[in-house]
Symmetry: C2
């Protein structure tokens, strides 16, 4: 895990509840499910992401001396409880969807079975980690679906919500099928390919635009992509054509240009024509500027000759649906199924599994949410990933997750593959699960 973590990155009530469990000696095994209650109206499916960081968090969970001192000094916790926290570790079992798996409302993407205090404490950060990457992967994959065969690059760092969001967005985008990111640290920490062009400021700092192009091209060992919309897009494209022979003499090839403002489709057509007529047929055109899957689809639908897109703000903040209704709920304690019945927020109890049915050629038909001990037809999706606090396998490579995503996309029903949220994908609730819920409700009355 590249990001500094702290066990105190949690909600206060987790600690006051732990103090209660400690005082009441409530240490029996608890089963918690992490799931999304409803999909955003704009999403037909979600992609599970963030498991790697979640497992790393669980594996490293502990209180430092400084944190224990702070807990003592804050005056809310008694000495025997704080002393008990000194050796607190996560020793539970985790089952989860592999990263990159498509999923739907009410389907657990992660299940924790652990002594109640352990399973409780980790709620806030587990949601925080799985929520964000799942949110972003589910947005990024829509861009991937909208732009088949195009180069997609994450440009979102600056308006992602903080440092960790910027880093984890780069990871979520890449596993969803993006070619890479502009965020350098994500390249260093995750091995993600890093892309970049140039900013308007470099152009502005030169008195002549063509001088800026030449200086920038000369300073880069590899091929360069030049930004041509600072003053007059088509004029800049013509300058580039004029400059190309001199650059070629110096052994510098122009890989492409970037357009970042104005009528992108119109500019792309004009620029393509200018470049082609000037012999720069190989130079690619990259679009950027407030793009998302919808805008990309519109540009491609009118035949705008873009070879790729830089997607930033709308991606890394998932602006059309900036949060998911992701929760983590107790489903069993001390061997007894439990059910929250708050209005509009009731949950399905017990130890569950998701069974996914497909056609012979692999296209998804429907899912069934069932009790683990009442198997249904189809492939079970939740897989064991941690036992007694130990990971069962080394971290999965990002390339393996990328392959899984591509397989998933091929298997999606046509409406989902077309980025449509309707008709909703069918998720059945198995009879045994409905009966268990009804039984709990009867006992509560």
């Amino acid at each position: 895990m590249p990001i500094a973590d702290s066990v105190l990155l949690t909600d206060l009530y987790q600690l006051t509840m732990l103090q209660t469990y400690h005082a009441a000696r409530m240490q029996e095994m608890a089963v918690f499910d992490l799931f999304v209650r409803r999909l955003p109206a704009e999403r037909g499916f979600l992609l599970a992401a963030g498991l790697e960081q979640a497992l790393d968090y669980l594996g490293n969970l502990h209180f430092t001396a400084e944190e224990l001192d702070w807990l003592t000094d804050c005056g809310r916790f008694n000495p025997s409880f704080v002393a008990w926290l000194e050796t607190f570790r996560f020793t539970g079992d985790v089952d989860a969807l592999p990263e990159g798996t498509a999923f739907f409302a009410n389907e657990p993407i992660l299940r924790v079975i652990a002594p109640l205090p352990q399973a409780q404490l980790v709620e806030s950060r587990l949601i925080n980690l799985l929520h964000y990457q799942t949110l972003i992967a589910s947005k990024a994959v829509r861009c991937v679906l909208a732009a088949p065969g195009k180069l997609l690059v994450d440009f979102g760092m600056r308006r992602a919500h903080g440092a960790e969001a910027a880093l984890l967005a780069a990871r979520a985008n890449y596993l969803s099928g993006f070619a890479g990111t502009a965020t350098v640290l994500a390249g260093m920490q995750f091995g993600i390919p890093v892309f970049g062009t140039m900013a308007h400021s470099l152009i502005q700092a030169h008195d002549r635009e063509e001088d800026a192009f030449e200086q920038f091209a000369a300073a880069q060992p590899g091929n360069v992509t030049l930004l041509i919309d600072t003053y007059d897009t088509e004029a800049a494209a013509r300058k580039l054509v004029g400059l190309a022979p001199r650059l070629q003499e110096r052994g510098i090839a122009i890989r492409g240009v970037r357009l970042d403002s104005g009528d992108l489709a119109e500019h792309a057509c004009q620029v393509r024509r200018i470049l082609d007529e000037g012999g720069l047929n190989q130079a690619t055109i990259l679009g950027s500027g407030d793009l998302d899957e919808q805008r990309i689809a519109e540009l491609l639908a009118v035949g705008a000759p873009f070879d790729g897109f830089g997607v930033g703000t709308r991606l890394d903040a998932s602006t059309d649906a900036p949060t998911l209704d992701m929760v983590y709920k107790l489903q069993e304690y001390a061997g007894k199924p439990r059910r929250k019945r708050s209005e509009g927020k009731a949950t399905w109890p017990g130890r569950k599994q998701i069974y996914r049915r497909s056609t012979d050629d692999g296209t998804l038909i429907s899912d069934c949410l069932s009790l683990e001990d009442a198997p249904q037809p189809g492939e079970p999706l939740l897989q064991p990933v941690m036992r007694e606090g130990q990971r069962l396998a080394p971290p999965e490579s990002l390339s393996a997750i990328r392959e899984r995503v591509q397989q998933q996309l091929t298997a999606l029903p046509p409406a989902l593959r077309a980025n449509q949220a309707d008709p909703p994908y069918p998720v059945e609730i198995a009879l045994e699960l409905r009966e268990m819920a009804a039984q709990i409700d009867r006992e509560m009355h």
Copy 2:
């Protein structure tokens, strides 16, 4: 700065541009403004926040040996450039709006004057830091305006976008007038008051709801707030009334209850009546569950007897406006004003100041954006905060920033104080500034 930072948390193009500046010996002074191009349609004003973290970032800027090795190995950078980065530091000047200052479109909230490579490199992270806290402070203050005299607590950690967002949201919310946060680490790192109630899981883990209430109350040294909507809200309130005498005998007072689901206004009225009739007149009612300033205003408008609110997801992701169009643009290089003219994205050149005019009783009238050497009537807002890379003052206390925000709110025109975005607050562009822009445009043709 409590959060691990890295100079490589930047966009690749900053580094390739730096290599260009290094090769071309472009080291003259550059002036960059950081500002918001347009306010979101839902916002009448924004609150500047995040300066403390931005200055800390600038003050600590350097490349570690590991980072330099990675840059060498990635194959894009030549040895003399990487060697030059070894001693790279930020030695520039910064002027900024004090945190908690209200501001509007096109007004610089931070200005950097530094040798071009330094001023360039810091763009991505400066936006990343100032964007998020400004976004959240500007959302939080709307909740503060909507709920005068009510206790407001940040509950948003779990669905904030990552760890840093969760921490910095707690800070931004607190400086805007929230009473505190549920995020424990924000208490430890920023000294923000920490609040908490209990989760449904603690109730569910007990066979009887009243046992859960009693165990939880008994385990907390102070007063407790109990969550009463897990099964039947009014029934739980009555259980609490029945339980209160026994708790009082043990010296435990019930501070209040929390409602998290269903028709919050209706439940609050019923629960208030039950608590009052049961002698628990002092017990407060806290509301939570998908709240924001609009929902809070609706609840208070119908007279729902809430004493406070926990505000989470919609606050820490600012869901109605999850990003700001915040940019950082070159306005002068080597003593010469510069202007980007990209379609729809033209900027105001030169070294600028904001002048704010108020009535005699302090109510804001209008702002004027002008050149620094062409002063206008009113109070200049940008203040020097860093010279030659050194901070001019120690970090401002959060309480001082909180006071500034409260003063600002008193001074807002009535429409802005009522959370209305119309009519827009007037920001004039001074004649001298318009003439400078026109002059640059003429020279470019």
